[in-house]
Symmetry: C2
């Protein structure tokens, strides 16, 4: 440890002693000697506290209770309606957390940190979303303050795609690449930028809004008030709307039957595409091309080592991914293109919630270190 | 010093002694006492060496010889033709540097570092441009190696807009904002991204290619091989081409007379616009709208504190700037927009060359510190 940190042996011993006193670290066993005194192997004590990770989506809610190694002890995914507003919404979140703690056999007293992902631009200092395009009623609501008061625990609020990037880097397909971008394609489209293993948030915290990058100056109107944004052309909601238009235009597709029974979703389009529906495949391929266009712009701007795709729509499989890759190859500059791998995240629907767990753990360790 | 760095007094004394030994720092005078022993005021010794900064543009060459405080001792701007290729081009650069050293009264022996900006994507590790859209003949030419061998000095090669950002941060309008983006609008359009006062280069070094961000998926072809890139719609070359088209279409403009005599440039358009030519004003306003579109995408992605515009075309004055600002206001998301000021750099045509001086100084001090 002294060698790796360039601290003196005495300093390292003092720090380790403090960590053991705080029960954060424990002596596991005595290792094999490599010449000198047989070393003591230390391990993190995962049971000294619990971290709660929460992913609030437009239409889903995921809660994980984890130990201090980030291992999930209890986990659930529920339906959610972001449009029910912050108070009703956070009440539902609170009940889900209580239930997961019960399932994990933990008391609230053992929880050291809670981290929450939300699908909108978060102003870090305020712990709230400002002018969020797909979170009606949440604009300016003090999410962090509200939950801190409710739970009397440290609570951190971050953008869902930012946490997705952190989750894939901590536990998923991004493990070996600390310069990575994670694109979340759900109802909206967001992006998390990781530079040197740290979430890049910009001066306010609102960086990463790739869904509102202009793809076509004269494109269709977007929920954010502008025109031709990526999200308005390729987000989950846009895909579902385009499917409706195809049906109205009389195109032959299996989606017609579904749309007669209920409102179409992007997931319906993805399912139909998987089963060979040509109209659905074309819709996904068009969306992929637009996403690839925006991604090429991001690659030209940021030259990341890895781009990972996630979010509900990516479950669509190879059609979307291939179309994204083709547009990226066509529109990225050669050197940046060669340096950037484009792939699908490995945590599936859990990227954001596991990023929340990772963020919670980071804050937990910082607070232990600062408290001394 | 001990207080600010959290190092011990003894360590600080030892470091200061080393710097004095290396003549990098000198004792200037004894200051006023604030209670204890009267302090010694130290100052950087600007005369212990010289730094050469070079800005190679598509059509210009700027060379500065500076002292170690970054003060220019000699400086010139010459015409340049990037298409003459690397060997003839770097030969011309070499002669200009020799001449400036002569004017500054310095020998080559006093030069400690040389830094060079070039208008293309630089792969940092190789010190060369790869697939540069507007540097015909330079693809893969080992600029850094070639100049190191020629001069037997440490030479650093970087993208011109990256150095523009560094220059404005070190000596210009960006002094108080370490999260800034500098957009250089010349023949091409490039961008330098500064995060926490450091140039952000990406994994290869090619980050910042905002000129090749897609503005319109079905737009005109670009020199990079793609379609609808910002540069193809609003770069200096595109502005000149559009002026030609306006003349051919029979629009009444003062540019017609100029174009009869020689090839039009974007600077001609800027001059005409300043003098009230309506066609020229429309051309600049259109270019500004496209640039503002791309900038809004960058602001939504990176949430910088400050965006500075530079490069020859920006000399056009308020017409371009106002049009850029209007498009940025229309297309940026509200929180990011409020956090980002859009302004013109204060170093004018010297942003890049002064960034080269700043980079050279940084490397000089690092090498002193590492050598001990």
């Amino acid at each position: 440890m002294a060698r790796n940190t360039k601290l003196s042996r005495a300093t390292v011993s003092a720090i380790v002693e403090e960590l053991i006193d705080a029960r954060l670290v424990r002596e596991a066993r005595v290792g094999a000697s490599r010449g000198g005194r047989r070393p003591t192997i230390l391990e993190l004590n995962p049971d000294v506290g619990r971290v709660v990770g929460i992913d609030i989506g437009a239409t889903h809610l995921i809660v994980v209770v984890a130990d201090l190694r980030g291992r999930a002890l209890a986990e659930c995914e529920l339906g959610f309606d972001i449009a029910s507003g912050p108070e009703a919404g956070l009440d539902r979140v609170g009940r889900a957390v209580d239930e997961m703690l019960r399932q994990a056999g933990c008391l609230w007293e053992s929880v050291v940190t809670v981290a929450v992902g939300v699908p909108g631009p978060v102003v870090s200092k305020l712990g709230m979303v400002v002018a969020p395009p797909i979170m009606p009623g949440w604009d300016g609501f003090p999410i962090q303050k509200y939950l801190r008061e409710r739970w009397a625990k440290p609570v951190y609020v971050d953008n869902d795609a930012d946490l997705g990037a952190l989750g894939e880097w901590s536990y998923g397909a991004g493990k070996n690449e600390s310069n990575l971008t994670y694109i979340k394609i759900g109802t909206g489209i967001g992006c998390g930028i990781l530079l040197d293993g740290q979430i890049y948030r910009g001066v306010l915290g609102t960086a990463g809004e790739i869904g509102h990058v202009t793809i076509s100056e004269d494109g269709p109107p977007c929920t954010c008030g502008n025109y031709g944004c990526l999200e308005a052309m390729a987000g989950g909601r846009a895909i579902a709307q385009r499917a409706q238009l195809a049906i109205k235009a009389g195109q032959r597709t299996a989606l017609t039957a579904i749309s007669a029974a209920r409102e179409l979703t992007a997931r319906d389009v993805a399912e139909a595409a998987k089963e060979g529906d040509a109209v659905a495949q074309q819709l996904l391929s068009d969306a992929g091309r637009h996403i690839g266009s925006a991604l090429a712009s991001l690659i030209n701007l940021l030259n990341p080592g890895l781009v990972l795709l996630g979010g509900g729509v990516v479950g669509a499989g190879d059609i979307l991914l291939n179309s994204v890759r083709a547009a990226v190859a066509e529109r990225s500059m050669r050197p940046s293109l060669q340096a950037t791998r484009v792939d699908v995240g490995s945590l599936g629907r859990r990227s954001t919630v596991m990023g929340a767990v990772s963020l919670g753990l980071t804050h937990t360790f910082h607070s232990y270190v600062e408290a001394g």
